[in-house]
Amino acid sequence: MLEGILLTIITAATPLLFAAIGELVTERSGVLNLGVEGMMAMGAVVGFAVAHTTGSFGLGILGAIFAGMAMAALFGVVTLIFVANQVASGLALTLFGLGLSGLIGDAFVGVPGAGLARVSIPVLSDLPVVGLLFRLDPLTYLAIAITIGVSWFLFRMRGGLILRAVGDSHASAHALGYSVIRVRFMAVLFGGACSGLAGAYLSLVYTPQWTQAMTAGRGWIALALVVFATWLPRRVLIGALLFGGVSILQLHAQALGVGVPSQFLSALPYLTTIVVLVIISRNRALVRANTPAALGQSFVPDR
């Protein structure tokens, strides 16, 4: 029972982790991309469509990554090259992504998907309770690996230092000779790839099928997760488990016969997001400590 609950929490947390860690890197470079929901939806539909047509799970994942990156590239061109407002462009990306995914996915509504087998690591997976951590699906391992990798990259590598410098002061980074636009474009593309993976996880593993608007606001929750994590990768991991836990609470509450209307339980993740945002934002020093100083600001080099 307990193991089952833990497993569903981890499964619900994985797409949030993917999307949030990607957005974290994007925001660390100073770009606020509110289009996560749209990129996720595209990742979900393209991942499902490719996996279903080719019969290959791996190709589906690659397709989803590509779809997320293509969407992110669109956002990058509009906001970084044409210096459009990032908030409005992110919303446009979400509207466009939700619409286009519906258009593409029209042919795949009701088509059953395959799902993905879990990978067991011998011996370790037989341990009580802890063994659970060695019986997850490969994508969850990938999400954790990416999170650790991002943390390592941002704080231990030269590239990460440059990325953070660009996000904190694009003028200084530019004066030092770094290409602000190029660094930001790469960060935006990385965010898109991760969002695509998050979407593919939903349509290929979480609920192996495609339905309209199946992202259900997870992209927005991932954005809130970045604030919750105060732009630190390890806290994203904790936050994803917390929000994953809240979102599956409704399933178990329903099973236990709690007499609360299902709509109220479905509203829990969104209400929790608001409450958590309030709690975190109250401590302004904590939020400010790691917020990229140039977040959301456009950059045009002066000559």
């Binding site: 459009a84 519906g102 969104y270 934002s281």
Partner: protein, 384 residues
Amino acid sequence: MRIELVRRGERSAAMAYLSPLLALLLTLIGGALIVIVWRVVATDLSAPDSGGLAGALGRGFSDYGKFLYVFFVEPLTAMWSIEDLIAKATPIILIAMGLSLCFLSNTWNIGAEGQIAAGAIAGSFLPIFFPDWQGPFILPAMLILGILGGMAYAAIPALLKIRFGTNEILTSLMLVYVAQLFLDWLARGPWRNPAGHNFPDSRPFDGDQLLPMLFGTNIRISILFVFIAAFAAWFLMRWTKTGFQIRVLGQAPRAGAFAGFSQSRMVLLTFLISGALAGLAGVCEVAGPVGQLRTTVSPGYGFTAIIVAFLGRLNPIGAIFAGFLLALSYLGGEGAQIALGMSDQTTRVFQGMLLFFVLACDSFIFYRLQIVRRPVTQTQAVAS
């Protein structure tokens, strides 16, 4: 050689008017690409009568012709569809006017879709609990409740931002999901019509509980609210100190702060105004075209209004023109579904694309494209 953006000496007045038109043109080109690709993908090229790729492309172009016709011409050919267009444009324009004020002051209310639901719920309270109440006071009371409902719901993200510094984009958006789930529960549960054969909607409103029609047409008096709101918004921005403060705080927050203008007051004010208008739009839907409270009151008007606000240059008169164009996209989406069998999501694709192009083209107001030859760097100069 590469292409760069170069800041203009001053903003280009010509581009301010041209950029929405340029954006529309680009959207039409983008739409053509999508329809043609959709047609080619949907065609089985190996079938003997498909005519191969050339045949599929040809059908794609002819489909796009049909698509343009159902999107932009057909809705204007019959009186009933013009009335439908006005019915759809009314809520979009009302909401967009409020959002324009918000965005002008650099405040981001993204939750209008939830404020519509809040307004619809608050406005439905009277006809659902007092079904027999008729007379001249019921409708004004419903409208006032709807406005207050939208305002109260919009006040939540505004107050959270002022008191705790919470990001209003995320909270207002989360509240959309909460409002929609609450509405869903009401319409299926306690407020469901007991005589409604288990359909998830409330009792139908009737008589004085509905918005009257204008001059024997199907156009409801809610269209008048659009003109009242436009005049009020224009007056506020043009003639009042508050309008001036909104503009200053939006364009130069630091200058506004030095001048002693309160950012917090402006956040609350613009959220309340936009919430009130979204609430009004919500109650006008249930007391108008919908005629009862349902699980979904709006097909995304709150999000469409964001596009309208930008396309209309954050200006009340611009919002009216842009609102009619975007209302067309709803009718066009329905038309594309019937005539071509494309998903109803075509509307959203079109809307998202339009917003992208509007935002990108807007940069031509302050910048111009310039082709620059890569300057000879020092190392290259030395080497040669």
